[in-house]
C-alpha cells in the first residue's frame, strides 16, 4: 500500500514538476538556512565543551566599583596562585597568563603576534594534547615556547618543528631566541587559547620568561592578569568569595582591595556570557531570523500544497468509490507531503554544504562541516521534514477527504472559499515576515553606515596605522620621533603620528584624575589617549581652544576634550586652559588645549571625558599612523614600506586602514547587517516563490473564467486587474500590519546605542513599495504569459 502511495506521490511530483520544484526549492532554502544557523548555534554552545573537568573550571573576573577603574576580564596575578597555596582543599589548580604583543620572527618571516605568557599548568590542566613535544616539560624552562599547528605552518611550513628557534622581541628593543618545545594540537574553539577575539593567542611562553618582557605575573599591583582556577570536586564558587577578599585585604594595595571584587564564572558558560552575553544575544538574534525564514518556507510549502491539493479532489473521490477509507486517504496525502519535504531536506543538505563557507564568513565563525556532527543531530532535520509534511498535508488530507464522495468524483470543491481565505492568511504571514526582515535590514544598514560616517568627530579617510617595534626608552622614543618626521616629509604622506592607539575602542584603559580643590578619592575616570603633536593633524581633530603639543618639554601638558571640560564643571573651553589635573597628589598635568569630541570607542557608549597625553609622559607607544594624500594608495603604501624597511630593518610592516579598524570594532554589528541581508534575500526568494505558486494555481483554476471573460471582450489588463484585486489587498494589509512590529524591534535594538539613527518613514515606504511592486510584477508576468492564447482551448477543457 505504502509503495502505491509513494509511486503516486512520485508521479504527481513529476507531473506537476514546476510546482513541485517551487515547493521543494522554497522549503530547502528555508531548511538549509536553518540547518546552517543550527550548526552555528551548536558550535557556539560547544565552545569549551571539550575542556577536561569542565564543571570545575572557572575564570576569575573582577567587579570594579567604578567600571572605568579596571578590566572586568582580568584579575591580580598572585591572587589565584595564593588561593591554591593557602586553600588547597578548595583549589585544585590554577593558570594565569599575561597577554602581550610583539614581533616574532623566523628567518626573514616577521609578524606581530599575540603572546600568552603563563603558568605551565596550561598544558595539563585542560586536557590539551601536543602533536609533538612533551606535555609535562614543554613549558618548564625559560625561553621555551609552545605554538599551535597553525603558527608552525606559518613560520616553518611544517608542524614537526620541536627544537627549532623563534626570535621574539622584548619591549626594550632586544631580541632573544625561544626554543620550540611543543606543538599544540588544533582544537575546537575554547576560552583558554582564545579568551576573546582580541586574544586569539597561539604562542605560549612560560611565566619564567615574563621578566624578559618586563612583565610580572606575581605583582599585587597589576590587575591585568587573566586568572583561571580549577576547583576541587564539590566546591562552589561562592566558597571562594571570602578567601579571595581576605587575600586581597592582606596583600593588595588598598585602592584595589577596596574597589575590586573578584568573582568566579564557570568556563562552561563563560563564552556565551562574556561581553554582556554578546554571543548569547547573537545566538538568539540569528535563531529568531532562522525561525522566521523557516516559518516562511513552511508556510510557502503548505500554501502551494493546499493550492495544488484541490486538483486531486477527483482522485480522492475515485479512491473512495473503490473502497478507500477516509483514514487511508488522509494517510496517503500525508505520506506524499512528507516525501516532498524529505526531498527538500536532501536539497537542504546540498545548500548547507555549498553555503557553509559563505555563512561562516557572515557570522564570523567557522560553521562545522556536516561530518562534524554527531549522528543524532540528523534526526532533527528529518523530524522537521516530517513535521512540515504533516502540517502541510493536514488541510488537504482532512478537508478534501471529508468532501462527499458524490461531489468529489465530479471534482466539485465546495470549500473553495475557506480554502482561498486560509491561503490568503498564510500568504499574508509571509509578507508580514518579509516586511519585518526587509525593513529591519534597511534600518540596521543605516545604523552601521553611521559608524562609518562623517559624524565620528574625526576624519578616518586615508588613515592607516602600522605596528611599531618596541623600544620604550627615552632614546627609543626620540628615535621614533625622528622616523616620524622622516615619514612626514614623504610626498605621499600628509601627516604622521606616533601614538598608542587609533580611535578603535581599544585604548590603554582609563585614568583616574582629579583637579585642584579635589581629593584623590574624588578622582574621575578619563579615557586616556597617548599621542604626539601630529595626532590632531592625522585624524583632523579640531582644536577648540588653547594650543597643541609643541615640543617634548610639553611632557606634562595634556589636551582634553569638550566633554572633559563639561565634567570639570567649566563653562567655556578657554577656562580649561591652564587647569591642573593629577594622577596622585604632586604629579600635576597642565591642560594646554581643548579638542573637539570624537568617538573613541563604539557608538554603544557615550563619548567620555578624554585626556590626550604626550608620548613623553608615559613613554609608551604602539603605532605609527599616517594620513595619506589621496591618489594611488597602493603605491603610497609601497613607498612607506620601503622607507620603513630602511629605517627599521627586520621589523614587520603590518598595517590597518582606519576603516578596517572600525570594522573590527563593529564586527558584531557588521555580522548582524550581513545576516539580515542574507535573511532578506531568502525572505524575498521565498515570497517570490510563494506568489508565483499562488498566482499560477489561481490562474490554472480560473482558466475557464478567463476564457469566458476574453470571449466577452476583456483585455489582458482587465484580467490582470482581476488577480491584482485578489492578491494585492492581502499583501498590503499584512505589510502595513508588520510595520509597527518592525518599528518596535528596531527601536529596541537601536536603544542599546548611545548614538543612533532615528527611525524614519523611508525604510518602511521602501519596503511597502518594493514588496508591492514585486507582487504586481509577478502577477502581471504570469497573467500575460498564461492568457496569450486562444480562449476556446480553455473552455473546452471542462
Amino acid at each position: 500500500m505504502i509503495r502505491n502511495y509513494i509511486v503516486v506521490a512520485w508521479r504527481n511530483i513529476r507531473k506537476h514538476l514546476f510546482h513541485a520544484l517551487l515547493n521543494i526549492t522554497g522549503l530547502s532554502f528555508g531548511l538549509g538556512f536553518t540547518l546552517l544557523i543550527a550548526a552555528f548555534v551548536w558550535s557556539e554552545y560547544t565552545v569549551n565543551s571539550d575542556i577536561k573537568n569542565l564543571s570545575n573550571q572557572y575564570i576569575v573576573q573582577s567587579n570594579w566599583k567604578n567600571p572605568d577603574m579596571g578590566l572586568e576580564l582580568t584579575t591580580i596575578g598572585p591572587l589565584v596562585k595564593e588561593l591554591k597555596i593557602q586553600y588547597p582543599s578548595l583549589v585544585k589548580n590554577y593558570y594565569r597568563w599575561d597577554g602581550v604583543t610583539s614581533n616574532v620572527s623566523s628567518g626573514n618571516k616577521v609578524f606581530r603576534e599575540g603572546l600568552q605568557i603563563g603558568d605551565s599548568s596550561f598544558l595539563f590542566m585542560y586536557g590539551f594534547t601536543l602533536v609533538y613535544g612533551n606535555l609535562h616539560t614543554a613549558l618548564s624552562e625559560p625561553f621555551s615556547v609552545v605554538i599551535s599547528e597553525e603558527k608552525a605552518m606559518k613560520y616553518f611550513g611544517r608542524t614537526n618543528v620541536v627544537g627549532e628557534m623563534l626570535t621574539i622581541e622584548s619591549f626594550s628593543n632586544s631580541k632573544h631566541g625561544f626554543v620550540v618545545t611543543g606543538i599544540l594540537k588544533n582544537r575546537e574553539s575554547n576560552s583558554i587559547t582564545k579568551l576573546n577575539r582580541e586574544n586569539d593567542n597561539q604562542i605560549f611562553i612560560p611565566a619564567s620568561s615574563a621578566t624578559y618582557f618586563s612583565r610580572s605575573l606575581d605583582s599585587w599591583n597589576n590587575p591585568y592578569i587573566v586568572g583561571m582556577l580549577e576547583l576541587q570536586n564539590g566546591v562552589k564558587p561562592s566558597d571562594l568569595t571570602r578567601p579571595m577578599q581576605l587575600l586581597l585585604d592582606k596583600n593588595a594595595p588598598p585602592d584595589i582591595a577596596k574597589n575590586m571584587q573578584p568573582y568566579l564564572v564557570p568556563l562552561k558558560n563563560y563564552y556565551l556570557q562574556q561581553n554582556n552575553g554578546l554571543a548569547g544575544k547573537m545566538i538568539i538574534t540569528v535563531s529568531c531570523i532562522a525561525f522566521f525564514i523557516l516559518l516562511m518556507a513552511m508556510i510557502n510549502f503548505i500554501n502551494i500544497s493546499i493550492g495544488k491539493a484541490s486538483s486531486r479532489i477527483k482522485e480522492i473521490g475515485v479512491r473512495k468509490v473503490m473502497g478507500g477509507m477516509r483514514k487511508q486517504i488522509i494517510f496517503q496525502f500525508l505520506t506524499e507531503y512528507v516525501l516532498l519535504a524529505l526531498l527538500a531536506t536532501i536539497f537542504s543538505f546540498v545548500i548547507f554544504i555549498s553555503a557553509r563557507s559563505y555563512i561562516s564568513d557572515v557570522l564570523g565563525r567557522n560553521i562545522p562541516m556536516l561530518s562534524a556532527f554527531p549522528a543524532y543531530y540528523f534526526i532533527f532535520p528529518l523530524l522537521l521534514a516530517v513535521l512540515t509534511g504533516i502540517l502541510s498535508g493536514i488541510y488537504p488530507a482532512f478537508a478534501l477527504s471529508g468532501i462527499r464522495t458524490t461531489d468529489s468524483v465530479k471534482g466539485k470543491l465546495q470549500s473553495v472559499q475557506a480554502n482561498v481565505h486560509l491561503r490568503r492568511v498564510l500568504a499574508g504571514l509571509q509578507f508580514f515576515t518579509a516586511t519585518v526582515v526587509l525593513a529591519g535590514a534597511l534600518i540596521i544598514s543605516k545604523q552601521v553606515a553611521l559608524f562609518f560616517s562623517k559624524d565620528l568627530g574625526y576624519d578616518k579617510d586615508y588613515v592607516v596605522s602600522v605596528q611599531l617595534p618596541r623600544d620604550w626608552s627615552d632614546a627609543g622614543i626620540r628615535r621614533m620621533e625622528s622616523y616620524r618626521d622622516e615619514f612626514s616629509r614623504m610626498t605621499q604622506v600628509k601627516a604622521a603620528s606616533l601614538n598608542w592607539t587609533v580611535p578603535d575602542g581599544i585604548g590603554d584603559g582609563s585614568t583616574m584624575l582629579f583637579t585642584d580643590g579635589q581629593e584623590q578619592t574624588q578622582a574621575a575616570p578619563y579615557e586616556s589617549v597617548i599621542a604626539d603633536k601630529n595626532y590632531l593633524a592625522v585624524f583632523n581633530i579640531p582644536l577648540k581652544a588653547g594650543r597643541n603639543f609643541d615640543h617634548h618639554s610639553d611632557s606634562n601638558s595634556v589636551l582634553i576634550n569638550e566633554h572633559a571640560v563639561q565634567s570639570l564643571g567649566l563653562t567655556s573651553n578657554e577656562a580649561a586652559i591652564g587647569k591642573r589635573l593629577y594622577y596622585e597628589p604632586g604629579s600635576a598635568l597642565t591642560v594646554i588645549g581643548v579638542i573637539g569630541d570624537f568617538h573613541f570607542g563604539s557608538m554603544k557608549e557615550t563619548i567620555k571625558p578624554m585626556v590626550l597625553s604626550n608620548v613623553h609622559l608615559d613613554k609608551i607607544y604602539r603605532l605609527m599612523c599616517f594620513k595619506l594624500r589621496p591618489g594611488n594608495i597602493a603605491a603610497s603604501m609601497q613607498a612607506i614600506e620601503k622607507k620603513w624597511n630602511t629605517l627599521m630593518p627586520g621589523s614587520s610592516f603590518e598595517y590597518l586602514f582606519m576603516d578596517e579598524s572600525l570594522q573590527r570594532l563593529y564586527k558584531t554589528e557588521i555580522q548582524l547587517k550581513k545576516a539580515s541581508q542574507v535573511a532578506t534575500i531568502l525572505a524575498l526568494v521565498i515570497v517570490v516563490l510563494g506568489i508565483i505558486g499562488l498566482v499560477s494555481l489561481s490562474i490554472q483554476k480560473r482558466m475557464k473564467e478567463i476564457g469566458i471573460r476574453k470571449i466577452l471582450g476583456a483585455s489582458v489588463t482587465h484580467i490582470a486587474f482581476l488577480f491584482l484585486k485578489d492578491f494585492l489587498p492581502a499583501v498590503l494589509i499584512s505589510v502595513v500590519m508588520a510595520i509597527p512590529v518592525s518599528w518596535y524591534l528596531m527601536h529596541q535594538w537601536l536603544n542599546s546605542y548611545a548614538y543612533r539613527v532615528s527611525i524614519t518613514a523611508t525604510p518602511f515606504m521602501v519596503t511597502i513599495f518594493a514588496l508591492g511592486l514585486l507582487t504586481v510584477m509577478l502577477i502581471l508576468l504570469q497573467v500575460v504569459s498564461n492568457t496569450l492564447r486562444n480562449p476556446v482551448t480553455d473552455l473546452k477543457s471542462e
Binding site: V7, V8, E315, G317, V321, M322, G323, M325, R404
Partner: protein
Amino acid sequence: MIQLEKISKWYNTNGARNFVLKDIHLDIEEGAFLSIMGPSGSGKSTLLNIIGMLDTSDEGNYRFFGESVFDLKEKKRTELYKKNIGYIFQAYHLIDELTVYENIETPLLYQDVKGSERKAMVADMLDRFNMVGKKDLFPSQLSGGQQQLVGIARALIAKPKLLLADEPTGNLNSKQGEEIMELFKKINTEDKITIIQVTHSEKNAAYGDRIIDLLDGRIQQNIQ
C-alpha cells in the same frame, strides 16, 4: 437483495422542498439486470448513488441483503460497500497517475488482499479483458473504450455482487458502446452479478431484464 422503501430526497429553495426523489419503492432481486431511464434531472444518478451507498436519502429505508444501510456506522457501511459493490462511471474516472495494472489493483489494496493473491487476481482480470499488453500504459494512452474496459475490470476485481454503472457508454461511440453492453450481459448471465445501470439510450436499456422510468423523482413505469 435491495429493498428501497419510501425513499425521498430533496433540497430546500426558499423554504420549499424541491424533490429530487419522491417516494421511491423498489425491490431488486439478486441476479437482476436493471436499467434506470429518464430525462436529465429526473434523479437517475441520485438513485444510483443512494443504492451505491455514496449518498443518503432524507427519508425512507434502504435494506441491502437485509441490513439497514442508513443505520450503519460509516466504517461498517464502507465494509459492506467494499465487499459487494463495484462502480462504473461515464467518464471512467481512472486515476491518471496510475497504470492500467495499478488502477485495477487499487480496490484490492483497500481490501488488504495479500500481494501474491492480488497479482493473480489482476493477472486473471487483464487476461479476461485482453489487456495484458496494455497493463503498463497510463489511462491517457488508451482510447475511451479501452479506458472504460479498465474501469469495468477495476469494478469487477474485488468480485462484487452488485455492479453499478452510471451512463457507462455515454462517452463512447456506438460500436464501443455495444461491446460494453454485450460484456455487461455476459457478466450478468455468466457471473451472476446483479447490474444496475443508468442510461439514456432505449437500446442499451433493452439489454437489461427490467427497466424503470424516472420522471421528476418518481417512478413512472416499471417494466419487467
